[in-house]
């Protein structure tokens, strides 16, 4: 009787044993569940950013006033550079998915080529991010005046001549001070350029902290993604996956790489656009 009971076919075939319930390999399933947990980490960081930004909404710096540089071009160009970074990352996601596609077609040479382009895209993004950090850390020529209570007063810039106007200082929340009052602020405050973890010339210190932490954490993901891609690329060149008979390793790496792109889409929106 007992023997009969165990050989009876289970009602739910997918979870009854003998087949893969999710119809994926264990490696891919691990990667997916790792990415879910990693997405939770990033979500928590971005939500924390949102709460603090909401709390200090009246004095929070606008990203459009902070990230205004573009290589080799003078002037105030907001959003263009991060737009370019987004494009680079989307492009490298495309080359990655084309590498996976070439793997399905068992075309080793094409996989190698697309992987190489993906790696180049990753390095381009990392370089762009380093450039962005450099400008954020070094700050503007005119800098800002940080008062004893932490309030940041920024020199205004003449709209037509683009010259720095020390007579008019911009306070957080759109207020301005001029004349003798401005002169007193300049005399009693610390003149500061750029940003670090404790203070920054753009406004609230938390703005810099979140910027360094979130883009840094994302950048570290990109960096590790590039390292993993290089390892896979070397494997492809050595014909490891020809011997193995399938390119699933490329697919799993691809999942991670697309995830990095996915996180950037959210960072782009919540740090730069909103």
């Amino acid at each position: 009787m007992a023997v009969e009971a165990t050989t009876e076919k289970p009602k739910n075939k997918a979870w009854g044993g003998g087949v893969s319930p999710y119809n994926v390999s264990w490696g891919k399933m691990y990667m997916w569940f790792f990415l879910v947990s990693d997405a939770f980490t990033f979500s928590s960081l971005i939500i924390a950013y949102g709460v603090m930004r909401h709390r200090f909404a009246d004095i929070w710096p606008l990203a459009n006033d902070v990230f205004t540089h573009f290589p080799f071009i003078e002037g105030h160009i907001p959003l263009a550079y991060v737009g370019l970074m987004t494009f680079i990352l989307i492009m490298s996601s495309v080359t990655m998915v084309l590498a996976v596609d070439a793997g399905h077609k068992r075309n080793n040479k094409a996989v190698a080529n697309w992987m190489l382009l993906t790696i180049i895209g990753g390095f381009m993004f990392l370089g762009s991010q380093a450039w962005e950090w450099y400008h954020f850390i070094h700050g503007t020529e005119q800098g800002a005046y940080i008062m004893n209570d932490g309030t940041v007063a920024r020199p205004s810039i003449n709209a037509t001549t683009h010259e720095v106007d020390l007579n008019t200082l911009l306070l957080p929340g759109g207020k301005t001070v001029s004349g003798a009052e401005a002169a007193e602020i300049i005399a009693t405050s610390e003149h500061f350029h750029g940003a670090n973890m404790v203070k920054n010339e753009y406004g609230h210190p938390l703005f810099g902290d979140f910027f360094f932490f979130i883009t840094g954490f994302h950048g570290f993901h990109v960096f590790s993604g590039v390292v993993i891609n290089i390892i896979i690329f070397i494997n492809v060149l050595n014909g490891v996956y020809i011997k193995r008979g399938h390119y699933e390793q490329v697919e799993k790496t691809g999942l991670y790489w697309h995830f990095v792109d996915l996180v950037w889409v959210f960072v782009f929106t919540f740090f730069y656009l909103v």
Binding site: T6, T7, A14, G17, G18, S20, P21, Y22, N23, V24, S25, W26, K28, M29, W32, F33, V36, A39, F40, S43, S44, I47, A48, G50, V51, H54, R55, N64, L79, A80, G83, T86, F87, I90, M91, S93, V94, M96, V97, L98, V100, D101, H104, G245, H246, Y247, E248, E251, G254, L255, H258, F259, D261, L262, V265, F266, F268, T269, L273, V274
Partner: protein
């Protein structure tokens, strides 16, 4: 636990995990679903949405409306990346739900954070 059970399993009894045969089987199933044209179509959708976002950031649309547009478009972009680049659309439904449903907890966290955020100014 008969011999028949073992045959159906494709199970490596020595190591206790599924062997390479089943791997290849998954890969062949996925072969047809993601053509090169789908990849490029997804790319153009992502690019156009991004350009659109950058474009409307400088218009005179009120900021509160812009925020909603940006968040909706971000979720659309996320959908295309996850569904087509990460291929989730063509995975089994049980796997899709296992991956997507946990994000209800993130929605819950957002609701909690928004509610608490209104009181933060009272405590410093």
């Amino acid at each position: 636990m008969s011999a028949e059970h073992h045959n159906n399993d494709k199970h490596d009894s020595k190591h206790g995990y599924y062997t390479g045969d089943i791997h290849n089987q998954f890969i062949e199933e996925h072969h047809q679903s993601n053509s090169v044209s789908t990849i490029w179509k997804t790319f153009w959708i992502l690019l156009v949405i991004t350009l659109f976002e950058v474009g409307i950031a400088f218009t005179s649309i009120p900021h509160s409306i812009l925020i909603i547009i940006f968040i909706v478009l971000t979720i659309v972009k996320a959908y295309y990346i996850v569904a087509y680049f990460m291929h989730l659309k063509h995975e089994k439904q049980s796997l899709r739900y296992s991956i997507v449903l946990p994000f209800l907890l993130i929605l819950y966290l957002i609701v909690m954070a928004l509610a608490e955020g209104n009181y933060l100014n009272l405590v410093g």
